[in-house]
């Protein structure tokens, strides 16, 4: 089983072959920071310490601050 990760900014789709993985680890693998991204698991907003199980679909997008 895999965790499917879609990064909207780069339009990358990545499959991570893991049983479970934390949001922090996913972001770290992709070189992204939580303070600048929103992470959704099956549509639900999750945070750094949340753990993602296999079979989950993750969407990550950048949050911009400027006006």
């Amino acid at each position: 089983m895999v965790v499917k990760v879609r990064v909207l900014e780069s339009n990358e789709c990545i499959e991570l072959e893991v049983k479970e993985i934390s949001v922090r680890e996913i972001l770290s693998k992709l070189g992204l920071t939580l303070s600048e991204h929103i992470v959704l698991k099956n549509g639900e907003v999750i945070t750094e310490d949340d753990v993602v199980e296999d079979g989950s679909e993750i969407v990550i997008f950048t949050v911009k601050s400027g006006g």
């Binding site: 991204h37 549509g43 911009k64």
Partner: protein, 254 residues
């Protein structure tokens, strides 16, 4: 043509000058909705890249009362994207320059420029009298202040943020969506840096914000509730992501 004339005949509350000014819009939205715009009040927080485009279109389209807040002065580095200002305006308070330009565009609009920083006390005075709050700010600290006060008075917020080629947009409404503080709770509120952005990015996101204001005021269709529009100007692409948040009450009610 007969239908169009019929529409105009029912617009007795608008002057002949207003009828001509909005003559390309009234046949689309109808007279009642044009009057609805005239009776509406919108607060725009921030008069920068987003705020410039938002104010131009709100005022051009006939929003009756527009409150806008910014404590900044016009700088040379603003002019690449902040289209309300010209080279001659450098050094002048943004809101005062904006007021003159907007008054020249549409003298029917009641403009309330506030040269001030965003504080709870200031917003307490103004948010309760508006129909919609538009977030055109450049930092999360101030965004979370407008979120708090708008939540208190049940006022919808149209939010956008931009950077480089990218931007996001959503609409917050108490009772329908989570608050901004909960939705973006991972974001560090103190993060405020020099914005680097392609000139068109705030223009596009600003217009999409205005479109959401019209949807809210006129009930055209469901606003972007519980959805985030993610814009990528490099492609270009627009993704609309549905979001679920189970419990935000601890964050939003405090």
């Amino acid at each position: 043509m007969a239908n169009i004339e019929g529409v105009f005949e029912s617009c007795r509350e608008l002057s002949s000058e207003e009828l001509e000014r909005y003559s390309r819009q009234i046949p689309v939205i109808g007279c009642e909705k044009q009057l609805k715009l005239k009776e509406s009040s919108v607060l725009v927080a921030g008069v920068g890249g987003l705020g410039s485009i938002i104010l131009y279109y709100l005022v051009a389209a006939g929003i009756g009362r527009v409150v806008f807040i910014d404590d900044g002065i016009v700088e040379l580095s603003n002019l690449q994207r902040q289209i309300l200002f010209t080279t001659e305006d450098i050094g002048k308070p943004k809101v005062l320059v904006a007021e003159n330009r907007l008054k020249a565009l549409n003298p029917h609009i009641k403009l309330i420029p506030l040269q001030a920083t965003i504080t709870e006390d200031l917003l307490e005075k103004y948010i309760r009298d508006v129909d919609v709050v538009v977030d055109a700010l450049d930092n999360w600290e101030a965004r979370f202040v407008i979120d708090k006060i708008a939540w208190k008075y049940w006022k919808p917020i149209v939010h956008a943020g931009v950077g480089e080629y990218y931007g996001q947009l959503t609409v917050i409404k108490r009772g329908v969506t989570p608050c901004l503080r909960c939705l973006f709770r991972g974001v560090k509120s103190s993060s405020r840096g020099r914005v680097t952005v392609l000139a068109t990015t705030p223009g596009i996101l600003g217009l999409l914000e205005v479109n959401e204001v019209f949807k809210l005021l006129l009930g055209l269709s469901e606003p972007l509730y519980n959805k985030i529009l993610v814009f990528n100007g490099k492609k270009p692409s627009i993704d609309i992501v549905e979001i679920k948040i189970s419990d935000c009450s601890e964050i939003c009610e405090n």
